[in-house]
């Protein structure tokens, strides 16, 4: 199969031909538009058991509406909109977290219990739940649990919960379109690997050997 035919074979049923051709034309330039056109056929390869397994998870509901509201606020505190990219809720991270605790039951009690811990903490301080607090009140509590090295001993459970929230939020955000663009990943497309770009080699004072230059593709 020559390269052209194989790229064509790829285009059918995966990503849009327009993006593919652009990627072939300018493999060394900065990705012109990392925003993918919607794939012709979404969905990854699933065996019947996998599809049934995922559907059963999707059909369930674990978090209450109140828990989801709290999660959304926390996500956006952890990953807000900035001048590079949108917020965690822009990237639908709460929906990801909602699925992932069903998929990974080991997160269920830490999350549910942590959310409750947080609400109880806010009740003690402000007489209301976390989601009913104003931003200043919310951040006062967050500041006490967001820094493991300096948190007070009695806040350690909150620290464990917030670290889990941070990790799950990052997982959900940086695997979204918005997040992947933010982090600057340039791959996942047909490419010609020509080695490390010259300016980067120069930056680190590295070079290829004569043999590598001669024999490598």
């Amino acid at each position: 199969m020559d390269r052209r035919k194989s790229i064509k074979a790829l285009a059918v049923g995966t990503i849009s031909a327009g993006v593919l051709l652009d990627a072939c034309k300018s493999p060394d330039k900065k990705a012109e538009d990392p925003k993918q056109a919607a794939p012709a056929q979404t969905g990854i390869d699933r065996h019947p058991e996998e599809a049934a397994h995922d559907k059963a998870l999707m059909d369930r509901k674990f978090f209450t509406d109140h828990e989801m509201a709290t999660i959304a606020i926390l996500c956006d505190i952890i990953i807000p909109k900035d001048d590079v990219s949108g917020s965690a809720t822009d990237a639908k991270v709460p929906d990801f977290i909602e699925f992932i605790v069903k998929d990974m039951p080991q997160h269920q009690t830490p999350m549910r219990g942590g959310l409750r811990w947080l609400d109880v903490q806010c009740m003690k301080r402000f007489g209301k739940s976390f989601s009913d607090c104003d931003s200043k009140e919310q951040l006062q509590v967050v500041d006490d649990i967001a820094y493991p090295a300096k948190a007070k001993p009695e806040m350690q459970q909150g620290v464990a919960f917030f670290s889990l929230m941070r990790n799950l939020t990052a997982s959900g955000f940086y695997t979204s379109k918005i997040g992947l663009e933010d982090i600057g990943y340039k791959g996942n497309r047909p490419n010609q690997w020509k080695g490390v770009p010259d300016d980067v080699l120069k930056q680190y004072n590295l070079s290829y050997t004569e043999r590598e230059l001669k024999e490598c593709i």
């Binding site: 194989s6 999707m58 952890i78 900035d82 695997t175 980067v200 593709i217």
Partner: protein
């Protein structure tokens, strides 16, 4: 269930092959092209990476963003279906030992997601007993297998470089890809430490070799299955062309139960199997039976094929079937390269694996363990998946971000800056070494347990010895030296004796072999040097089972070379009417 009866296939085949992975696929290819009629049984479903597409999917196309599942332990996008736990197919352990057993269940088996590391055994690897007195020599030498390695290289395609190393024979190579940035740092530091670093040898097409397969376009997703067949999988590269000859019938979802033998002369006559779709019993007859179900699965079949003429199981008068089980050793270390903080972004995918590696470089006579290991390397700017940035509170307080010393953990715009800063600075390495094949590492039939098909299951007994633990210790010492030499910060894997230096549990490297070993002496081996059973001339085993030892290399390339050789021997013997 009504009348359960065995449906015997009316078609008579020259060869029935159990298993469509590296060994079975190669056998089907050779036999079909020689004009023989082949029935290829596969325990899993049909698979074609061009139709069952995972390649070039984005992380958000998986609801769990690529995290592992019981169906795909290597990740939601991994091509290989099956794994450590298969519903209804248990295995057991003996005496508190532990062996984790991987079962792939699909056309092409594990070759659909393997690392494509395609290394020839060297001359020493066939004669280890002569060198260090441990385990046994193979009944063949490198010279016996070299012509088949040469043909295999040309048939399947492998890139690499001519290095003239005494025990790392050069192949017929396609050009290798240039090292990536982290690989240049590793190369410099490793070489300074006296560790050999050469281009890797992977079965990925950097150049066109035929009209049926495309050329690699460097998406680093071989493990997802290549839609243009640029990487080697048995399904794409061997079974498909074999089927195109018109001489192969593939029966998917067929769980082999046992090999039927003749009561009059003990010859193998058929394979009985369960069709998983209709749960009925079937039997398919062949003049020759070849087992390639993976090392332990083939041993299991043999042990379950008892008859008056084969009271100890088929091909087992030596009593070695199931024994001398060995897996590669594995231990790893990882960390961060601070010089890569805030690095420039570009497409760094490359091929689906390392562009450089380190073959074993030392003389074991000067060391306190007998066999060697090679080193695999990773790092760089990869596509995100579940777990991205996990545990950032462990690093964003330790290293100044853009010159600012921060408090560990945190949130907000500052945190986003941290993820950007650290992205692509990770690096890691793992050793894959040779364990000693020992009689008391084995699998056997569990006397009390059957799987959902009523087939008796395997029970494992496996322990690492001091040899393997000392080898893992050496790996960690070497890795530390390489990491320090390039200024890397080690964040995991700096183990000690308390956890055997991070030596992976047996079976975790998924290179298990040895359970149907070959040899010249029928009292101490199950097969002869043509993979042919001493006790049953028309029975062959062509997966990892025959391996007397496994070298500091992965076994797939040797499985295929031996299967090619054994299959041609079968063709020849059938012509001469010896089988």
């Amino acid at each position: 269930m009504g009348n359960l009866q065995v449906k015997v296939q009316s078609k008579k085949y020259d060869v029935v092959i159990v298993g469509s992975g590296a060994g079975g696929g190669m056998a089907a290819y050779i036999l079909a092209n020689a004009g023989l009629k082949v029935c290829l049984l596969e325990a899993g479903p049909m698979y074609d990476p061009a139709k069952n597409v995972m390649q070039l999917k984005w992380p958000w196309e998986s609801p769990r963003r690529g995290a592992s599942t019981p169906f795909r332990p290597f990740g939601d996008f991994d091509a290989c279906y099956g794994g450590w736990e298969i519903e209804g197919e248990p295995y057991t352990q003996k005496n508190g030992t532990r062996f984790d057993w991987w079962r792939a269940r699909m056309l092409g088996g594990r070759t659909n997601h393997w690392g494509r590391i395609s290394l020839r055994f060297g001359p020493d690897d066939f004669k280890r007993k002569d060198i260090d007195g441990l385990s046994d020599n193979w009944p063949i030498s490198y010279d016996d297998i070299k012509p088949f390695y040469d043909r295999l290289d040309k048939l399947v395609g492998v890139f690499g470089s001519k290095e003239n190393l005494p025990n790392e024979p050069d192949g017929v190579f396609l050009p290798p890809p240039k090292p990536r940035l982290h690989e240049l740092f590793i190369k410099k530091s490793a070489q300074q430490a006296g560790v050999t670093v050469i281009p890797s040898r992977l079965s990925i097409l950097t150049q066109k070799i035929n009209d049926e397969r495309g050329v690699c376009f460097y998406c680093n997703q071989c493990a997802r299955g290549c839609t243009v067949y640029a990487d080697f999988s048995s399904s794409s590269c061997l079974v498909n062309p074999a089927v195109k000859t018109g001489n192969v019938d593939v029966i998917p979802n067929a769980m082999a139960r046992e090999v039927i033998t003749s009561s009059s002369d003990g010859r193998a006559t058929a394979v009985s199997y369960v069709n998983k779709d209709d749960m009925q019993e079937y039997q398919v007859n062949g003049r020759v039976i070849m087992l390639a179900a993976s090392a332990c699965e083939s041993a299991r079949l043999l042990l379950n094929s008892k008859s008056p003429r084969h009271p100890n199981g088929l091909a087992n008068s030596s009593n070695v079937v199931g024994k001398y089980l060995h897996d590669s050793t594995g231990a790893a270390m990882g960390g961060i390269l601070p010089q890569l903080y805030g690095r420039k972004r570009y497409n760094e995918d490359g091929v689906g694996g390392m562009h450089i590696y380190s073959p074993w470089w030392l003389d074991n006579k000067k060391l306190d363990f007998p066999r060697g290991y090679h080193i695999e390397y990773w790092g760089g700017m990869g596509m995100s998946s579940y777990g991205f940035g996990w545990g950032i509170e462990g690093s964003n307080g330790k290293h100044p971000v853009n010159g600012k010393q921060k408090e560990a953990g945190g949130y907000g715009k500052s945190l986003k800056e941290d993820y950007r800063y650290f992205y692509g600075a990770g690096v890691g390495m793992a050793g894959r070494g040779e364990a000693i094949a020992r009689e008391d590492n084995y699998c056997e039939i569990d006397p009390a347990v059957v799987d959902r098909y009523g087939i008796p299951v395997l029970r494992f007994h496996y322990k690492w010895s001091e040899h393997e633990i000392k080898q893992a210790k050496h790996m960690k010492e070497t890795f530390k030296e390489i990491m320090h030499g390039m200024g890397a910060i080690i964040t995991w894997g700096d183990d000690n004796a308390s956890n055997d230096y991070g030596l992976e549990a047996p079976g975790r490297i998924i290179h298990e072999a040895g359970t149907v070993r070959m040899g010249n002496d029928p009292k101490r081996s199950a097969l002869n040097k043509y993979n042919q059973a001493h006790d049953c001339k028309n029975l062959f085993v062509v997966d990892g089972g025959p391996f007397v030892s496994q070298a500091d290399k992965n076994i797939t390339w040797t499985i295929m070379a031996l299967s090619m050789r054994a299959s041609e021997y079968v063709v020849d013997e059938l012509k001469k009417q010896n089988l």
